[in-house]
């Protein structure tokens, strides 16, 4: 079935031990709960329940005196708990809620004092403190921090699980808070694994992040010094270069906003598109998860991880007209899922079939078991088999549900529009279809996804068309969307055409240069990352390939079938410099030797006297300047060095000569979120690269809907109040739209 390693989605034996990251956050939690004596109620930021349930079970909370769990989603709270612990992100809205709770509860009963504590994730902010102050409750609440930096979703995927909207915050609001948080979290990562020897990136926010990392490294030296006096904590590795990580690639979401707008076509991606995956959990019909309502017995067999989201109980079952919903965890503990997740959905049916047959055969083996030993052997495997059976049933169920949607005309039309637009077809059919969607009053997000995609791919819409759609939208979805359109314009998502022809747009040029459209895609035996979108290779991951020097630069400009061979480089293993233009990325010259500053045009640090010892900046990306120039933002490459003593240097050189270095890991960080398909594409690269492991890190997981919602948000409430039945939105958007 697969041409490569068997357990496809797993890096399995990564030397990074991501469990460490989980432990950091997990250990902190009991300490925080114990600050309040006795029984207590926990009030959680709804956005944090998911991440929290990934790092701690409900029993852990219970063991530390948590009796009740509430969601922080309204300004009233009815509780009889004598003490409340809030855990939330520092959002102004929450502060108003909390202030109201405090006022309410202290008014309700004069004599019984409720105790309040508040923990900010990842840290307190002055804005929030100020609001509490303004509301006059600052003195009655104990405030602390809970630095929950990284949530390992998978062996090869860690996420900060910020709220979706990071990209919008940075590029629309100009609020760089999440860049700062990212820098902090990455420092944590570096303190555990050592400094990234090389930081390479593209995009303005990415550049800022890198600068912050360099700056923080300098500042951290002070903090370390001070803290080493008071506490002898785990030593940080910030003064040595990582042994395990060879480079750190920052992909600014801003360089590729096309990809998230496309419908993801891998199995996991489609689950996300149709049902929505929140922090690894997907909500399924309860009878799909537990068919015979034999509550508990089924879940025990599937192990602790497969379906005990546990935190918190109030959300595990939400009443719905289609029966009860149950949360089901999607990660590598489910073996079958890890086989399926990265496959193109077109293949999934076949795989499921095959597995069903195999399981059946395995069951049949019991008839062949003759001797006691054989029977015992069979019984021994029975648990595993049943578990597999159970997960097969669930995935068949999920696949059917997805299929129900993918066979509709609507899905196929949308897909066709997408594919045409991305491939550079500039016809009438696509606008016509979008118009029809508006006329049918399909969900605005769905419409905007297509419109923005078209605008981006073609460098804006023709003025006439642009004006037409703007009018259609505000008349159909309400005049409040004047502002939405304004935002989309500011962000460059939906604009008037400025270039003469669509083929001059940045996207179509990079489509050519990076060969984003691959016609001969093979979904069953993928030979290129483009399989994840059935023919479109995500731009972001192509850039990753550039950063890894995995595409021969000389052959790039050619396109069409003749260039098919160029992707043989993808599987070519590390450091195969096929021609002289590939720069020798000299990792092995330590000290300050990496003084390569080619054109000095980019990077504010260039030209000035280098203020950061141990850091070299160049703009890197040799061989790809042309493509990178098309995309927004700066490109850069920073080498981080540490001055070791002569002995250490010699020892390290010896180690290198003798090939004692570990397999290195390349960390790819998506600033502004990444999609499941992008992860799949990177896994594909990983499978074809024996020389290194890949770790994807991201601010959050996104898809087209969660990507656009924060931009459209804040206006939705009005129209949904009047349930006239006109807002017919398909299941897709209903699932992932923010619940009120």
């Amino acid at each position: 079935m697969s041409a490569t390693k068997d357990n496809a989605s797993h890096l399995g034996n990564t030397p990074l031990h991501l469990e460490k990251l989980k432990e950091v956050a997990r250990k902190e939690l009991p300490r925080l709960l114990d600050t309040v004596r006795g029984k207590k109620g926990l009030v959680l930021d709804p956005q944090l329940t998911g991440p929290l349930s990934l790092i701690a079970e409900f029993t852990l909370l219970k063991d530390h005196g948590v009796e009740k769990i509430y969601h922080l989603d309204s300004d009233t709270l009815d509780t009889d708990c004598a003490s409340l612990i809030y855990i939330c992100r520092p959002k102004m809205k929450y502060m108003r809620f909390i202030a109201n709770h405090i006022k309410q509860l202290s008014q309700k009963s004069e004599d019984s004092r409720t105790e309040f504590s508040l923990y900010f994730v990842p840290q307190r902010t002055r804005v929030c403190e100020r609001i509490l102050e303004e509301q006059g409750v600052f003195g009655s609440i104990t405030i602390g921090d809970y630095a929950m930096d990284w949530i390992p979703l998978e062996d090869d995927l860690i996420s900060m699980e910020l709220d979706p909207g990071t990209w919008k915050e940075i590029y629309l609001d100009g609020d760089h808070t999440s860049i700062y948080y990212a820098a902090k979290s990455l420092m944590k990562l570096q303190s555990i694994y050592g400094l990234f020897p090389k930081i390479i990136g593209k995009g303005d926010a990415a550049r800022q992040l890198a600068d912050m990392l360099v700056r923080m490294r300098r500042e951290q030296a002070v903090v370390d010094e001070v803290s080493s006096f008071t506490s002898s904590k785990q030593p940080s590795l910030l003064n040595s270069v990582s042994n395990h990580i060879d480079q750190f690639i920052i992909i600014d979401r801003n360089i590729d906003i096309v990809t998230p707008l496309c419908t993801q076509l891998t199995y996991e991606g489609l689950i996300d598109e149709t049902m929505g995956i929140n922090h690894c959990f997907v909500e399924l019909d309860a009878n799909l998860v537990n068919p015979n309502q034999q509550a508990g017995s089924g879940s025990k067999q599937t192990g602790p991880n497969t379906q005990s989201p546990a935190v918190p109980p109030p959300v595990t079952t939400t009443p719905n007209q289609s029966g009860k919903k149950k949360k089901y965890v999607l990660n590598a503990t489910d073996k079958l899922f890890s086989q399926l997740r990265d496959q193109n959905f077109a293949v999934v049916g076949g795989v499921l079939n095959k597995i069903a047959k195999r399981i059946n055969e395995n069951y049949e083996e019991r008839h062949h078991a003759k001797t006691v030993a054989q029977i015992r052997d069979f019984v021994g495997r029975l648990g595993e088999l049943q578990q597999e059976h159970q997960s097969l049933r669930i995935h068949t169920g999920i696949a059917e549900q997805i299929m129900d949607y993918t066979i509709t005309d609507e899905f196929n039309s949308i897909l066709e529009v997408q594919q045409n637009v991305v491939a550079g077809v500039d016809g009438n059919k696509e606008p016509d279809y979008i118009e029809e969607m508006i006329n049918k009053q399909k969900s605005l997000i769905q419409v905007l996804r297509l419109l923005c995609l078209m605008s981006l791919a073609q460098g804006g819409l023709k003025v006439k068309l642009y004006d037409f759609f703007r009018r259609e939208i505000i008349q159909t979805y309400g005049y409040e969307h004047i502002e939405t359109l304004h935002r989309l314009e500011t962000l460059g998502l939906f604009t008037k055409r400025t270039t003469a022809t669509p083929s001059r747009s940045a996207f179509s040029q990079s489509r050519r240069l990076l060969r984003l459209i691959v016609d001969d895609v093979n979904e069953v035996r993928p030979n290129d990352i483009s399989y994840v979108y059935s023919g479109y290779a995500p731009l972001s991951v192509r850039i990753v390939q550039c950063a890894m020097q995995k595409i021969g630069p000389g052959s790039l400009p050619t396109s069409g079938p003749s260039a098919a061979s160029l992707f043989s480089y993808v599987g070519g293993g590390g450091g195969n410099n096929t021609n002289g233009t590939t720069p020798s990325q000299t990792n092995n010259s330590s000290g300050y030797l990496n003084e390569k500053r080619p054109n000095g045009s980019s990077g504010s640090l260039n030209g000035k006297l280098n203020p950061n010892p141990g850091v070299t900046v160049s703009n890197g990306w040799r061989g790809y300047e042309e493509v990178l120039k098309l995309l927004p933002g700066k490109s850069f490459e920073i080498t981080q060095n540490v001055e070791y003593g002569a002995e250490t240097n010699a020892a390290m050189a010896r180690a290198r000569r003798h090939g004692m270095q570990h397999t290195k890991t390349t960390v790819i960080f998506f600033l502004g979120g990444c999609t499941f398909t992008e992860v799949s594409a990177i896994r594909f690269l990983a499978q074809h690269d024996e020389s290194r492991d890949y770790l994807v890190a991201t601010t959050q997981m996104i898809n087209g809907n969660t990507f656009l919602e924060p931009i459209v948000e804040s206006i939705h409430k009005e129209s949904s109040n009047h349930g006239t039945g006109t807002v017919s939105g398909n299941g897709m958007t209903q699932n992932s739209s923010p619940d009120l």
């Binding site: 004596r37 902010t125 700062y180 002070v222 006329n439």
Partner: protein
């Protein structure tokens, strides 16, 4: 076996310790005294004079005196950082470092109103008792949050009380033990539990240094030791005195020492006891491995003799270590017995050496330290491969200990305490006492980081120096430059606080951490610089800090001017305002002439209004503001339309008594159609120039929704559909009205008809249509989908016909 060593002979001028309120810091720390006005008044019937708090080292050297001018002091104590804690009657807590400025906080409303009658202090926190017997706890002196504990229910002063510090309780929260009546109450933040004891009243109590045991003195003169959870009875000892002792303290964790006037009684774990007598009043300080006794002429250490020491020095001991020690003596006297001794313990020599090393650690006198180490070293010679790490470590530790025990320094730290504290803490303590040079030497000797010492030194230098700023700056930087990454903020702050602003600015330039620079810059009123540094750091929270500060401080115009040319600051202000302060946001946009943004805000504000008149007026303003920008004609026009729509909707609501506001144009038409108001729908359409295509879709969906098939048909026939007839079919199918659907299929284009028929299950018609189209492929598909046997046959024949042609 116990021993009492004289550590220092004191030459302080305090003669009658009984007249003082005294607090001694653990681990050989300083002691503080103040004349106890209660005792003084009682004895001398004097008017209270302004009292002085004296702080002495354990060697009796005066560190500092504080003129006390506040209210009556209830209790004294020491923190971990060797700051003196002074608690007054009116609930004020002051923290005095050994040198320098005090800080203070209040214990809260209850404490202030009712007054504090007593207070228990441990090294990180305290519990105070008010005159109404309420307990107030503070668990962290540096972030004090006074908390009322559970009601005690007391109505009279307890016989005695004490606390178990949080680090020793099961719950990790402080617990208070109160002796009242014949029982003990255990109080924590949530509840009060009566232990229901009969043995009381307990007139004195003390918790052991590890928090596990409780020593109680009963009114009938019994000393009773129980575990602090009251589950285990450990020992009981009857003294002959019914008068409670003046002090009851633990000596290490296994013995208890009681002090009455002139008599010290030490009671061991098995009822064994020993008595000492003193002529003058004394004060005892409990240590983790003994009791420090301060009298008017000496400082002594009372402790159980350590096992290693006992092994060597017990009279007639023949343990290997004793033999080794003896051997050295013989060796030095050139006696052959030395060899004999070594031979006799050859097999146990390693233990003997270890034992000697260990014993050396327990000695205060250099002579014995040297002798024991020498013995160990001598024994080592006879061992082939002995790991000398312990020996080296001990020699090193003793060197440090001797240095700090030196009279001038006066920290009588035992080896056990040293190991517990860690070298870093020892260095810190020297720094608090301004012994910078020794601290640096020790830090270098032990390879501990010395940055903090340097910073403290620099601060002290600034405070005491009278030289000009440039010289001081040069002096400090010269010393500190060798340590990269050292924090200058604290030094700069000291400079600023002592009025040397220019020096502060200069020093601050060396500070690598923005988070430390910014607050200081703010307090130095270097506002612009503070804002720039904050922005540079990328820490948005820091930027907010400056913004809020500026907002509070400056007039609005000046405030805006300050942030205008700093994009990050502007953006952050906008983000904050959007949620918290719309008015400020509008002012901000107005002064910067950002019309479109202004309009956007007002527009959204309008849509948030529930009152329609309000909404319209807001929209009007927004519309006007859009008009100011030629580029924004679309927005201006849209807003105008929006107002028009609202007005129409108001009319519609009056006419139909149905809610309309909030609906979009399309939704309004839809609703009109649903309500059967076709004319009104058309009016809206023409008013807003809705394209025919959309109009048809809306009407189609609305009519299907209300299942008005008659009107739907009429509508379909009204003129040629701009959207074709397929949508009609599809919508009917969605509504499961196949009959209705079929009406429109024949109006669709011929090629799509067969499949539409298939969708409603009309295979016969589907087949016929495909046949008419001469669509072989289509016909085959129909055949494949067909489930009806009879129809299938017909189709087969059609297929045959078609292929025949």
């Amino acid at each position: 076996m116990t021993r009492k060593q004289e550590v220092y002979s004191l030459s302080w001028d305090q003669t009658d310790l009984s007249k003082f309120m005294i607090a001694g810091a653990q681990n050989g720390g300083p002691i503080a005294l103040i004349r106890d006005d209660k005792k003084v008044l009682l004895l001398q019937k004097q008017q209270p004079i302004k009292p002085t708090i004296y702080m002495y080292t354990a060697a009796g050297k005066l560190i500092e005196q504080i003129q006390w001018d506040k209210g009556r002091i209830v209790s004294l104590g020491w923190t971990e950082q060797e700051q003196l804690v002074v608690v007054t009657e009116d609930g004020i807590v002051r923290l005095y470092p050994l040198h320098g400025q005090y800080t203070q906080f209040s214990l809260g409303k209850e404490a202030k109103e009712d007054g504090i009658i007593d207070c228990q202090i441990w090294n990180t926190g305290l519990v105070a008792m008010t005159s109404r017997y309420q307990l107030v706890s503070v668990t962290n002196f540096y972030e004090p949050r006074p908390k009322l504990m559970a009601e005690t229910g007391l109505d009279q002063e307890p016989h005695s009380w004490t606390v178990i510090p949080p680090q020793y309780t099961l719950s990790r929260h402080v617990e208070v033990l109160i002796g009242t009546g014949s029982t003990i109450l255990v109080v924590d933040s949530k509840e009060t539990v009566d232990q229901r004891l009969q043995q009381g009243p307990f007139t004195k109590m003390a918790v052991s240094p590890n928090g596990k045991f409780l020593a109680l003195f009963t009114s009938d003169g019994k000393l009773w030791v129980v575990s602090t959870d009251f589950q285990k009875n450990l020992s009981e000892y009857a003294t002959k005195s019914k008068i409670p002792p003046q002090q009851l303290v633990w000596c290490g964790t296994d013995s208890v020492v009681l002090y009455w006037d002139k008599i010290v009684l030490m009671v061991g774990p098995f009822g064994d006891w020993i008595k000492f007598s003193y002529e003058d009043p004394i004060f005892m300080i409990s240590e983790i491995d003994g009791v420090r006794i301060m009298s008017n002429d000496k400082c002594e250490l009372l402790q159980k003799v350590p096992a290693a020491t006992e092994e060597i020095f017990k009279i007639g001991s023949t343990s290997p270590a004793a033999m080794l020690f003896d051997a050295l003596d013989h060796f030095e006297r050139k006696s052959p017995k030395a060899d004999e001794n070594i031979r006799s313990i050859k097999t146990e020599l390693v233990d003997a050496v270890d034992c000697c090393i260990e014993a050396a650690g327990f000695e205060f006198q250099h002579y014995y330290q040297r002798a024991l180490l020498k013995a160990a070293s001598f024994g080592k010679c006879f061992l082939d491969n002995y790991n000398a790490d312990r020996f080296v470590e001990m020699a090193q530790s003793l060197r440090v200990l001797n240095a700090i025990r030196y009279y001038d320094i006066g920290i009588p730290l035992t080896y056990t305490q040293y190991k517990r504290l860690s070298p870093e803490v020892v260095v810190d303590r020297l720094v608090y006492r301004n012994h910078h040079l020794l601290a640096v030497r020790i830090a270098d000797y032990l390879k501990v980081r010395s940055d903090k010492i340097l910073i403290h030194w620099a601060c002290a230098k600034i405070k005491s120096s009278s030289e000009d700023e440039d010289t001081i700056c040069r002096m400090i930087v010269e010393k500190l430059i060798k340590k990269p990454g050292l924090s200058y903020a604290e030094i700069a702050k000291t400079a600023y606080n002592s009025g040397q602003t220019r020096l502060a600015t200069k020093l601050l330039d060396y500070e690598p951490r923005a988070a430390d620079q910014v607050p200081l810059l703010i307090s130095m009123e270097e506002d612009e610089m503070a804002l720039m540094k904050a922005i540079e750091s990328g820490d948005t929270d820091l930027v907010y800090m400056v913004i809020f500060h500026l907002k509070r401080k400056l007039p609005l115009g000046e405030f805006f001017r300050m942030i205008n040319n700093k994009p990050l600051a502007c953006s952050l202000l906008e983000v904050y305002c959007k949620e918290q302060d719309k008015e400020l946001l509008k002012d901000f946009y107005y002064q910067d002439d950002r019309r479109v943004e202004s309009a956007n805000v007002i527009l959204l504000e309008g849509f948030e209004q529930d009152d329609i008149a309000e909404r319209i007026s807001k929209l009007k303003i927004a519309g006007k503001t859009y008009q100011d920008d030629k580029e924004r004609a679309f927005e201006a026009k849209g807003t105008e339309e929006g107002i028009k729509l609202l007005q129409m909707q108001q009319q519609l609501e009056k006419d139909t008594h149905q809610p309309f506001t909030g609906l979009s144009v399309s939704e309004t038409i839809y609703k009109c159609t649903v309500l059967g108001q076709q004319n009104k729908a058309s009016k809206v359409k023409s008013e807003f120039k809705v394209p025919d295509k959309r109009m048809w879709w809306i009407k189609l969906r609305a009519l299907v929704e209300v299942r008005d098939w008659e009107n739907l048909e009429k509508f379909a026939k009204s003129k040629k559909s701009p959207i074709g007839y397929e949508p009609f079919v599809e919508e009917c199918i969605k509504a499961k009205q196949y009959q209705e659907a079929s009406k429109y299929i024949l109006r669709c284009d011929p090629p799509v008809r067969p499949m539409l028929f298939v969708k409603i299950g009309a295979f016969k018609e589907a087949g016929e249509q495909a046949f008419l189209n001469k669509d072989m492929e289509g016909l085959k598909q129909v055949r494949a989908k067909c489930s009806n046997h009879l129809v299938a046959q017909e189709i087969d024949s059609l297929l045959a016909q078609l292929s025949a042609r």
